[in-house]
């Protein structure tokens, strides 16, 4: 049976990189006695796939990984057991059954992510947001994107689905996943230089709100909404 686990990552855990978060959950699943399925062979490992790895330094309210389990376990029970073995800065929010179909798991279905960006020194004032509508009204937003070999120009405008002020924070919904992933850092950098400022003048704090997939009707839904609650 395939399940999807949703968790949040906050506080000092933002310094734990993606690979270590994976290791962390492998051990946590054992501590919580979740009946995880293993591969065969001399070094069996858990069948686990993470959606949209979070960079070091970012916090999140909506991270996901998919997992194969060998016997059913209710959503309520699994969330409770996992949270009993979490450290501060990690909280399991959901544990739902998903289709066993390969196309519906992990990274491949992520389409968008929401971010909230604040500034440590409170420099995001009215003047900062003044240019926002002019910025989003542009037809093209060309940026130089560095790849391993070269730099190339690309238009990020189609990848920004929404961008607005929320109090003293910037909210954005951008394209995510394996096809076209837009990093919030790049958006903030582009926006500040659009304002004639440098992003180096700011100490942005980046927080991911959730990861989304496209539902059959084309709407963006949080990844766990594609699964169903397991009754106990």
């Amino acid at each position: 049976m395939k399940v999807r686990v949703k968790f949040k990552k906050y506080g000092v855990m933002k310094f734990i990189g993606h690979l270590d978060v994976m290791r962390y959950f492998q051990k946590a699943l054992r501590r919580a006695d979740i009946p995880v399925a293993f591969t065969k062979g001399f070094s069996p490992h858990m069948v686990m796939s993470f959606a949209n790895p979070l960079g070091v330094g970012l916090t999140s309210d909506g991270e996901y990984f998919d997992l194969e389990i060998t016997r059913p376990l209710s959503t309520k029970e699994a969330v409770k057991r996992l949270n009993e073995v979490m450290v501060e800065g990690m909280e399991v929010l959901d544990f739902v059954e998903i289709s066993g179909d390969k196309k519906s798991t992990g990274m491949s279905i992520v389409a968008a992510a929401d971010y909230l960006v604040t500034d440590k020194d409170g420099k995001m004032d009215d003047a900062f947001f003044d240019g926002l509508s002019r910025f989003t009204e542009q037809e093209k937003i060309n940026v130089m994107k560095k790849t391993k070999r070269s730099e190339k120009e690309m238009d990020i405008r189609p990848l920004i689905y929404e961008m607005k002020r929320q109090g003293n924070a910037m909210y954005m919904r951008v394209s995510a996943g394996s096809v076209s992933n837009l990093k919030p850092e790049l958006v903030m950098e582009t926006y500040t230089s659009f304002l004639g400022l440098s992003s180096k003048e700011f100490r942005f704090v980046l927080h991911r709100l959730d990861n989304y997939a496209r539902a059959e009707d084309g709407a963006l839904v949080p990844l766990n909404a594609l699964g169903k609650v397991i009754e106990g």
């Binding site: 270590d20 051990k27 501590r31 858990m46 330094g57 073995v85 450290v87």
Partner: protein, 623 residues
Amino acid sequence: MRKLALDDEILLKIEKPARYIGNEVNSVMKDKETVDIRFAMCFPDVYEIGMSHLGIQILYDMFNKREDVWCERVYSPWIDLDKIMREQNIPLFALESQDPIKEFDFLGITIQYEMCYTNILQVLDLSQIPLYAKDRTKAHPIVIGGGPCTYNPEPLADFFDIFYIGEGETVYNELLDLYKEYKHSDWSRREFLERAARIEGLYIPMLYDVTYKEDGTIDSFKPNHPNAKEKIQKQMVLDITDASYPLKPVVPFIKVTQDRVVLEIMRGCIRGCRFCQAGMLYRPTREKNLKTLKQYAYQMLKNTGHEEISLSSLSSSDYTNLKELVTFLIEEFKEKGINISLPSLRIDAFSLDVMSKVQDVRKSSLTFAPEAGSQRMRDVINKGLTEEMILNGAGQAFEGGWNKVKLYFMLGLPGETEEDMRDIARLADKVARRYYEIPKDQRNGKCQVTASTSFFIPKPFTPFQWATMCDQEEYIAKAHIVNEEMRAQLNQKSLRYNWHEADVTVLEGVFARGDRRVSNVLLEAYRLGCLYDSWSETFQNDLWMQAFENTGTDIAFYNKRERDLDEILPWDFIDIGVTKEFLKREWMRALSGEVTPNCRMQCSGCGVAKYKGGVCIESKGEI
């Protein structure tokens, strides 16, 4: 939420910030207002190395079982953070509370190898604690050292208030209770230390004076206070089954060297190899009860979520119930996706059988430690391994599908001849020949025999403590002889040879057998910028040589001199139970190539029988 000692900008700039944030599973948080004693436990190397050390985990757990103590951890900041902390004057902090170490009551440092000595000074320095014990006041933490290097603590004597000689489980409670009294009293720091000197096993260097003869050797080593004992008794736990053991060890976020559950099955070793310090220090051999170990395995795997379990001891093959323990681990945990990692076992039918169950034969290699190439030399060092045993073991392994073998040797052993060195290569070749005796259609391609040599360092409390040591040029010349002989072998294409750095070996030699005066070299090397000397990327031999020159310290005095049997050795004030008479006897037997039987075959009267425990009270002649 805890506030971190380092701000985000620093943490995002340095390598592996997880080294410095604490918060790991099973790390212990307490309210600092409700404890009497705050203890910072330090391993003076980088986090990944320090977190892999069992001894600290044992003491961390044991101290935190006391309600009045909060024990936290601290490791050496890596060079990137070290630089930032110096630039910004950030005091070194403990991982749990993130509070500065200088506010603690104790800073305990485990001293596992000589090449971490500059890191000890780094930890003191970054903590903003005076480096010299004599310069500290009641406002500073008590700096206490423990671990194998404290069996000759003299090179570090000036920097420590106390050395705890022996196993940590015995007298710490007494010391902590005394400290509580001191904290609420008007005793001076020195008065506290004088009282602590009454506790068994505690060595307080400032309460002793050393004088030297004209030739540089020690003339006298005497207490300067009535409380200080002439002889410090090694501390030892007789019943290690009932000793405190951490069933909820801290689980690091990042991958560390020992990323698994470690079951300590035994302390001590019955073998008595004459170069081996641990083999003498931890006598008598004591085993942990099998039933207890089985329970521990369950609980520790459950509490940590680790996917691997391994056994710890000096010589696991000598654990009486090894077969039953290993079979239990395989049957109980293999199906649950737990890897069983076996320490280097003696190669025989049983160990090959279990190894084929827990690892992929084609990928793994087998390890033998003959330590010397010729039988003559193996008799000198009392390594009870014959060529026949090695070739038989290798043969069985090859027939079982293995084709990679590692062989470990030492160069520069006492009385070594050129033939002994060449025999290293010849033995490696014989192992390869054994492989090619297997019909071509039944073997798995070519074999690979890798011989590695390290350079012999005479250690305190071994029969070789009086021996002379080679210098760098001699060591390298020896390695070249072996290398040349390797190339002359029939199966040279199947043989690989590599050898250790000789410059580090020379320094280890000086600090292993040094006296109080070599602390000057250490401090000078640290001031010149030496740090992380056990890491090849940061080791700077030229700075070390500069430090010897600047302080006028003669390496040859410490390394090349064969010591007289009646010379006062810097570590003579410690009583490890094994008598000096026994060590002398063993040194003589070594010189004449006589083998001494292991503790289970026959008692050789080393002296530890006085503790009336462990192998000394087992019935003899059964194994």
